[in-house]
Subunit: 136 residues, 2 copies
Amino acid sequence: MDKTEYKTDQRELIIEFLKNNTDKYLSVDDIEKHIFKLNKKIGLTTIYRFLNKLEKENKLRIEINNHTKYYQYISDECRNHFHLKCEDCGKIIHFECEEFIKMIDHIETEHKFSIDSKFVIYGLCLDCKNRKGECR
Amino acid sequence: MDKTEYKTDQRELIIEFLKNNTDKYLSVDDIEKHIFKLNKKIGLTTIYRFLNKLEKENKLRIEINNHTKYYQYISDECRNHFHLKCEDCGKIIHFECEEFIKMIDHIETEHKFSIDSKFVIYGLCLDCKNRKGECR
DNA sequence: TTGCGTGCAAAGGTTTTGCATGGCA
DNA sequence: TGCCATGCAAAACCTTTGCACGCAA
């Protein structure tokens, strides 16, 4: 049986900020600073603990850069499509695609592996690919 | 113009260990301990610096867990096929697949995005999926 | 001889833990 | 009232940096 959960101002502030930024990856620092701008203050510990809780509940995508973790809330709509992320500019492309679903099914039936569509796929967007091409 | 590179015992030891374990993710600690078992010793700094160098050269896959980085050498053969990793047991499945290549081409031409096939795709292998199913 | 590589010690920065207090239900 | 949540300070942790020395070419 799950523990009962309390609704607190701190958690509401954090969740609201996360939900308004489902296209970005946010650090704990970003969250703290944003809340500070609202003339409020939340202890870092609280932010860390709440994010860890959301992570366990599978509600966050996480990326790590230079030892710092960045969090992205997985919105409900995003559970029904896929995501590409440009390694260069960081842009995230949301897309629906029959081919992709077919491929996932194929891998499931033929290769006996269930792809977790929560995960982002990395590569280069057109702009960045062109830009990189020029430098060579 | 690239810097000239020196060949040193330390680097040879590290590279050898990495190349013998292209199916695992190794931490700096793993590397240090392994070398210690060979009755040799390499400073942690050296290991970190060399791994960072390899990372910049795009020769490693990296994963982070509980604040520690895990490294996997990308062997030459692995550049020609794809990788699935089970989120649960950690097993890596190497596979070649026409469907997958078709999908990559489709995403490149239709969605204007070049997937970086270096990246591993996450999900659940058959065993772990079955095991999880039982628990529900 | 040149300048890249190594390794120690110290610093750096993020995340976690302990513990007392606060506050939701 | 019971128990989850908060927040401060301190600890823990891995990784990086500074600097002098070692060593490959």
